[in-house]
């Protein structure tokens, strides 16, 4: 089974993005994967902004990224792009931090008009960091996420079905021979 790190890039403490990530995390855990969640808002702000990789929290976060077999990167869409919080963290990673890894991009936003941000803005950044395989991402409307009641997180049936497909494709990738070879290479490196 794979070790999966989930990054959430929302600065809000009560976050739809984190709720969405949690929904996908449940699928991964149910399949036996080892899941760790890193809410980037919990990192010390000054250390993130100054790229202080010697700071113990930052160093631990970077190690977690490098150690993971795969990542889920979840961000709110602000001004038609990923959040600044996500980008400041990605900026302090080594250039090849995602080498050999499968990545699932997730995004939340207020209007479907910003759906393409996942492919036009987030995907190129993940490519630049060396991701081996970026599986099909998913954009979820804010209105379809219930992050407050404690009940089901996704409240739209069509969205649940879409997310199931997205999540299943990512999990299938984690089982692929490519993924197992990459994990082996990382373990012996």
């Amino acid at each position: 089974m794979a070790s999966v790190l989930i990054l959430t890039g929302s600065p809000s403490t009560v976050s739809r993005t984190a709720a969405l990530a949690g929904h996908v995390a449940d699928d991964l855990v149910a399949e036996g994967h080892e899941v760790q969640v890193l809410h980037l808002r919990d990192l010390p702000a000054e250390a993130v902004l100054t790229a202080d990789t010697a700071h113990p929290s930052i160093a631990a976060a970077v190690r977690a990224v490098i150690a993971a077999d795969a990542l889920v990167v979840a961000t709110p869409i602000y001004k038609a792009s990923y959040s600044g919080l996500l980008k400041v963290f990605l900026d302090l990673l080594p250039q090849s931090a995602l080498q050999g890894k499968a990545v699932l991009p997730l995004a939340t936003g207020g209007t479907v008009a910003h759906l393409l941000a996942i492919d036009y803005s987030l995907r190129p950044v993940l490519v630049s960091l060396g991701a081996r395989h970026i599986t099909t991402g998913r954009f979820v409307l804010d209105a379809h996420i219930d992050h407050r009641s404690g009940g089901p997180v996704i409240v739209d049936d069509a969205t649940i079905a879409c997310l199931d497909r997205t999540s299943a494709a990512f999990r299938a990738e984690l089982r692929s021979p490519d993924a197992q070879l990459s994990a082996l290479a990382a373990a012996t490196a």
Binding site: A113, L116, A117
Partner: protein, 220 residues
């Protein structure tokens, strides 16, 4: 030889890359063209709006990509775009970006043809999901061409055409008619403040026949 009380003439070319007939891209192109004409009229200019329907030139465009030569009909279209004072360019969004037909037309334009050219960008698609294609796909292309693109790009989803009077309920986006007008005003302002010399239509200012008979050529 424009006199002081001669009206200010401006030529607008409208390129529509819709493939079907009838085409919602053509519908948006027509609305944008009319709105730009009105906006120029409001500013005291006389606008002539010329439509270039790329669908009609699809075959010639492909030939030109292979041979480097434009058919007479395509050359008229290319001249209309290059000779205009402002361009409205509208394309359907296929696979999240402009169509191949649209890109073929851009590809056959001579280098620098649109440098400094005022441009209004428009796009259509079945749903609002591909709205960002205007900013992520079209704008970088026109940045490469060094065109002066107005800030408002107009994206119209199919149901925008039915909601031109009111705000769509699921969104706080201004109705299509408002976006068309705002973009048209922006293009009219850029066209009129542009430092490029206005496009000259050689048919607007012919050498008088008498002058030719007296042996005088066109005034230099």
């Amino acid at each position: 030889m424009t006199g002081i009380d001669e009206p200010l003439r401006r030529r607008i070319a409208v390129v529509s890359a819709g493939l079907r007939n009838p085409s919602s891209t053509r519908l948006l192109a027509d609305r944008l063209g009319e709105a730009v004409g009105r906006a120029l009229g409001d500013r005291g200019a006389v606008a002539s709006v010329e439509l270039v329907e790329l669908r009609d030139h699809a075959h010639d465009l492909t030939n030109m990509l292979h041979t480097g030569f434009a058919s007479p009909e395509l050359q008229v279209a290319l001249d209309a775009v290059q000779g205009s004072d402002g361009l409205v360019a509208v394309t359907p969004i296929y696979s999240g970006t402009f169509t191949g037909l649209f890109k073929n037309f851009i590809d056959v334009l001579p280098e620098g043809a649109l440098a400094g050219h005022p441009v209004l960008l428009g796009a259509t698609a079945g749903t609002a999901r591909h709205s960002l294609a205007v900013d992520h796909a079209l704008r970088p292309l026109f940045a490469y061409l060094r065109a002066v693109v107005v800030p408002t790009g107009v994206f119209a989803a199919t149901d925008d055409f039915g909601h031109s009077q009111g705000v769509r309920q699921d969104d706080d986006v201004a109705p299509l008619a408002d976006r068309v007008q705002r973009a048209a005003r922006e293009l009219a302002d850029v066209v009129l403040s542009s430092s490029r010399p206005p496009a000259v239509d050689s048919f607007d200012d012919p050498t008088p026949f008498e002058q030719l008979l007296r042996g005088g050529g066109p005034a230099r």
